[in-house]
């Protein structure tokens, strides 16, 4: 069993770099065209655009669950067009993801859901137990850690999904509409959580169409429209 330690890797290599990347599904038109941008380490950016503009597709590209049909993509400095599953899993371990639909596993308790990224890395459970219970407490779910996700409210699931994304202290955090299911007050607190994570060294990319949320924090904005990306520094 490996020891469990937090060690964010700090370097100047962009965590994500796209060069003329395009994606099409099947024989249809390109849903994303000529994407050229980088996400620097310890940076903070919003990804915005109307519904259906391809925000989720872009996040899935970075996660490599959708493969680009053209262009060059590097993750953590590594060109990924021919990456094998093992290496891809290793890269994904450096990312935390908050899905729009949370993607919690319904047959596991909240505690087990949040601990999942550590469990699949085969860390010893005793090593991360305190870490997980503390993070759950921190997002206000300390009393509910032995509850199964189906009985939780949308906001609680959201916080659990965020906790799961944060537990490994990722180098890159991807969040897809992370404030979509919560009231404005909680949305502000969650944003603050992401900002604090960013200050601790994580690169953060938040996909949202909530303009009010973006106005709360002055950060770089990536705008997707008609399949093209416009960067508002």
């Amino acid at each position: 069993m490996k020891d469990f330690t937090f060690a964010p890797e700090l370097s100047d290599i962009p965590v994500v770099h796209f060069e003329n990347v395009g994606v099409r599904y099947g024989l249809g038109p390109e849903v994303l065209r000529d994407l050229t941008f980088s996400i620097e380490p310890h940076s903070f950016q919003f990804l915005s655009g109307p519904s259906g503009a391809g925000k989720t597709t872009l996040l899935r590209l970075i996660l490599m669950s959708v493969r680009p049909t053209r262009g060059v993509m590097t993750l953590f400095g590594e060109e990924v067009s021919r990456i094998d599953q093992r290496r891809l899993a290793d890269l994904r371990r450096r990312m935390g993801v908050v899905f729009q639909d949370f993607r919690l596993l319904d047959h596991l308790t909240l505690y087990e859901n949040v601990a999942l990224p550590l469990r699949v890395q085969e860390f010893e459970e005793a090593r991360y137990r305190a870490e997980v219970t503390e993070l759950l407490s921190w997002v206000g779910l300390g009393e509910r850690m032995h509850v199964m996700p189906p009985v939780l409210s949308g906001g609680e699931k959201q916080r659990a999904a965020i906790a799961r994304a944060l537990i490994t202290r990722p180098d890159l955090l991807l969040a897809d509409e992370p404030t979509g299911n919560v009231d404005p007050g909680l949305a502000r607190r969650l944003l603050r959580l992401f900002v604090e994570l960013h200050r601790l060294g994580t690169a953060v990319l938040i996909a949202t169409h909530d303009l009010a949320l973006m106005d709360l924090y002055d950060a770089r904005r990536l705008l997707l429209a008609d399949g093209h990306l416009h960067i508002d520094e």
């Binding site: 596993l105 300390g142 603050r192």
Partner: protein
């Protein structure tokens, strides 16, 4: 929302950067507004957490059906293996028993002293190395042999009945029967030697055929088990596609996911294999018991003459248990293969 206070660990270094906002616990902790105390019931939590839920959810209905299929197939495979083992053991016993005997038959001579020929042939046989004993059947014994066919109160002296000499052979160094046959033909033309070779050949052919059929059936049933498990695994994977995706997203290697599935299917395989194997062994024990209780009856004697004693011995039970174990391992191997194929196509 109230952000619950964390444990009493000093994690200032880790959370030190979080200084923004009035209601962040880090901020509260830093300002010392909330006293630090350990989370209540942490020991209880630790105990609860010691056992991990399997990552692959247990679908009890499908699992029960699969266990039943594996149990039935294992039962059939173990029965076939047991039957093949029974035939193999009994035929070996027959062959050993029959192979250690030979018979000299003296055709009755209308003129001449048959008794003298019997004595001469017996003496020749005794002199042959490898023949342990040569016992001529007396007239009385021959009468008893023929009694069931010819009725009692028979006087063989009036009938031209062939006389028999029973030879017991040394199984370690069997005699050269061909040489004995030649010598007998020269010295006693009325004598013929029967070494049961024809019988033995037929018997062993039959036994080998039965054993081969049994082994083929075991293999077929094991293949059927493997295919059933492959389908079941594919179904389970398709049903758990969402879980597999999440596991991939949080950085699980394929080998890890495959291990989680394999662990579950090996348990189902062992369960089904154990049920089927134990049932098959119970059937053999019961049949052995029934045949033993029939032994004294004529029907039982007929059965025993056909099948020998209905006992497969320790080796037979080991063969059956081994078949069940192999069925469980086939289950694990096939589920592993199916899972890896599925994962290779998964995002």
């Amino acid at each position: 929302m109230t952000l619950a206070q964390g444990g009493g660990r000093d994690d200032g270094a880790r959370r030190g950067g979080m200084r923004q906002g009035g209601d962040s616990p880090a901020a509260q902790r830093d300002s010392g507004r909330i006293e630090r105390r350990p989370l209540p019931g942490r020991a209880t939590i630790a105990r609860l957490l010691a056992r991990e839920t399997p990552l692959v959810p247990v679908d009890s209905a499908a699992a029960r059906a699969l266990v039943a299929v594996i149990a039935i197939l294992t039962f059939l495979a173990a029965l076939c293996a047991g039957a093949a083992e029974l035939v193999a053991t009994n035929s070996a016993q027959w062959r050993a028993a029959v192979g250690s005997e030979a018979t000299i038959q003296i055709r009755p001579q209308p003129q001449g002293d048959t008794e003298a020929l019997v004595a001469q042939a017996a003496a020749m046989a005794r002199e042959t190395p490898g023949v342990l004993a040569a016992e001529p059947f007396s007239l009385g014994q021959s009468e008893r042999l023929l009694e069931p066919w010819l009725g009692s109160g028979l006087d063989l002296a009036e009938l031209p009945v062939p006389r028999l000499i029973e030879l017991r052979l040394d199984p370690q160094s069997p005699p050269d029967l061909a040489d004995l046959r030649t010598r007998l033909r020269e010295a006693v033309p009325a004598a013929s030697l029967d070494d049961h070779a024809q019988w033995l050949a037929r018997l062993s052919n039959m036994a080998q055929t039965i054993v081969a059929v049994g082994v083929a059936l075991v293999l077929l049933v094991l293949i059927a088990t493997g295919l059933a498990v492959a389908f079941a695994t594919r179904g389970a994977m398709a049903g758990n596609r969402g879980i597999v995706e999440v596991l991939h997203y949080v950085g699980a290697h394929d080998a890890y996911i495959a291990r989680e599935f394999r662990r579950r299917f090996l348990r189902l395989g062992l369960e089904g294999g154990a049920i089927g194997g134990i049932a098959a062994i119970a059937v053999f024990v019961a049949l052995g018991w029934i045949s033993a209780s029939w032994r004294a009856s004529p029907a039982g004697d007929q059965l025993e003459a056909l099948f020998g004693a209905f006992e497969i011995g320790t080796r037979g039970y080991l063969v059956m248990a081994g078949t069940a174990l192999v069925a469980a391992l086939v289950t694990a191997a096939m589920s592993d293969l199916s899972v890896r194929r599925f994962l290779a196509k998964s995002p």
